[in-house]
Amino acid sequence: MSRLPADDLYSGTQSQRRRTSRNARVVNAPPPLLRLPRTMRRLQRQAPMLAIHALSELSGRLRDLTGHELIDMARVMELMQFVYRQQQLARRGADYAVDDFGFDAEWTESFLPLFKILYRDYWRIETAGIEQVPAAGRALLVANHAGVLPWDGTMIKTAVFAEHPNPRHVRALVASLFMGMPVLSWFLRRTGQTVGHPDDTRRLLERDQLVLVFPEGVRGTGKLYQDRYKLRRFGRGGFVSTAIRSGAPIVPVSVVGSEELYPMIGDATPLAKLFGLPYFPITPFWPWLGPLGIIPLPSKWRIQFHPAIHVEVHPPEAADDQNLVMALADQVRDTIQQGVYENLKLRRGVFV
């Protein structure tokens, strides 16, 4: 059978065709409008390197002068890497894949240096019991929720990714309210969060992921400063039923320190209603200082991962046994509450 002429015409990729075309012409790039002198161009090219040299020189001098490490070059290099990584990610165009929940692992990992600065240097977080988080397989992390903004969630995620011997991404469940907000909705989905819907929880657990849930929900973040260490009600224990159904152990997590980020002295309910928010916080700095009021206070944190509660020993039918579910939910809540009190004793002060 003879080949069709159209076959040859359309064979190969577009770029190959362009290369082999008879009409192809070599076109040079147009010269730039403004061409700097050679010395300036060299300077421009070497600017990052020179800046690093200057900083390390300065760091050494300061160390000799004061005897303290005022500029830590390791951290400076981490920040430089962060900037370089962001540039790399900006160049990848559409060449990446997100999972069904919209999670982009590469992009999320690129933000780790920033969160590590908060984790190590700003809140000086001490983590205990990280080995309780399984290195592989599914698990449901259950934590207490406090502070007006969900910084505790980001720090638990950072802890598991930065400190665990087998770094894993934690997928937190978020109130649907935040999934409808501009900027937040895409940032949360991109970094692996999803809606707090039982279907989503089960699906993630079935894919052997670590799922983080805050059963207190917005009632937890919106609690006043005077009740800061007291856990709220744990809903109807839906998280326990989901864990039993998907056969995942529950790892309780106690966080101390997130309570003091924004000391919430009042709740302006009419304003909250106006903006469609669950609460409108009044702190000593917000809303009086404007955007400065969003800066969290540098409290000292402790995160403790407790031994897993193996709810997966119960058969899946037990998920409908409300008695058992509520008992297990109370057990998880008590563990976390006890952990909060113990860690408060271990902490010397709020800011040290």
Partner: protein, 317 residues
């Protein structure tokens, strides 16, 4: 509805309007045993009122024609759409056919589709002799759909602060799903959509366009009017929701009951569409052989580029 362009053997083509009750007569006179109801408009350039007439009243007439003990119809396939769910932030990330609390979307198309599906469901309950399947097709990308036209813009206006997940379905997969449903006897509702998801900004990058996040997230009606005025692309109400919150469905029921899933992934659908933009449309199909040759050549070209050779060959058999 256009006449078929190539020669049809063993096939009759009858013009009829579903808005008038001719279906019953046709079905009983010709002893038709399988009815595939595709006259459901999801993405229409016309007024919502006319769409409602076609979708709800038309479906009512089709169902009335197929109902009754004297009806020879034993298989009914009704086309529906993923748009029946609408898109809301509180929905699960992958929507199952019968998740609780879903289907209360407030756009006109979603309401029409929900009504149409309710009618079909009632029909299935009242006529146990007829096996009914509702096929919820995913969003498709062609030059004719709003989504296709929207993503073909050189500067794509998006909602500021939103980057939803998209899931797409290829035309060939949609056709095959309908064909399989017509030949099979599975009952119930089935989601049909491609594997995997893309985020909107990624889709725009694949199309070689630029995303411009200029639409304010509140007051969507004004945004839709502004986009239509500035670019000529009509964004229906349900699509505005989609472009903010995104909608992804779970097709595992289709996989288990039909043993088949769409061959094109979401990414492949968009790649094929992006490449197809550079392809010339087929012009003036004078003799049928000429038309078929051109279709064949275009398919060969597409296969070469995407590596979907086997899929397309399986379809053509």
């Amino acid at each position: 509805m256009n006449d078929p362009v190539s020669a049809l053997e063993d096939m009759d083509f009858v013009h009829a309007d579903t808005r008038q009750s001719v279906i019953g007569k046709l079905v009983r006179q010709l002893r038709i045993d399988t009815v595939v109801h595709l006259a459901v408009v999801i993405d229409s350039p016309r007024e919502d009122r006319a769409t409602h007439e076609t979708n709800v009243i038309g479906t009512m007439n089709v169902l009335a024609g197929c109902a009754g003990p004297s009806s020879p119809v034993s298989r009914l396939v009704v086309k529906s759409s993923q748009a029946v769910y609408g898109a809301r932030p509180e929905y699960p990330s992958l929507i199952v056919e019968d998740s609780a609390g879903i289907g209360r979307a407030d756009s006109p198309v979603s309401r029409d589709l929900a009504e149409l599906e309710q009618l079909t469901h009632d029909f299935a309950l009242r006529n146990p002799g007829c096996r009914v399947a509702r096929i919820r097709l995913g969003y498709r990308m062609t030059r004719e759909t709003s989504l296709g036209r929207y993503l073909s813009l050189p500067l794509v206006p998006t909602f500021a602060g939103f980057d939803p997940r998209l899931q797409l379905l290829h035309e060939e997969d949609a056709a095959e799903a309908i064909a399989r449903a017509a030949l099979g006897d599975q009952e119930g509702v089935f989601n049909v959509a491609g594997d995997g998801v893309l985020v909107l900004s990624q889709a725009i990058a694949i199309m070689g366009a630029r995303a411009t996040p200029v639409l304010p997230p509140y007051g969507r009606w004004a945004s839709r009017v502004a986009v239509r005025f500035a670019t000529g692309v009509r964004i229906p109400a349900h699509m505005a929701d989609l472009l903010m919150h995104g909608s992804v469905v779970d097709c595992s029921r289709l996989q288990t009951e039909f043993g088949w899933r769409p061959t094109y992934s979401t990414r492949a659908v968009l790649d094929a569409f992006a490449l197809g933009q550079t392809e010339e449309p087929i012009e003036s199909p004078s003799p049928p052989q000429e038309y078929e040759l051109q279709v064949y050549l275009q398919r060969r070209r597409r296969e070469r580029r995407n590596g979907h050779g086997s899929a397309a060959l399986a379809l053509s058999r």
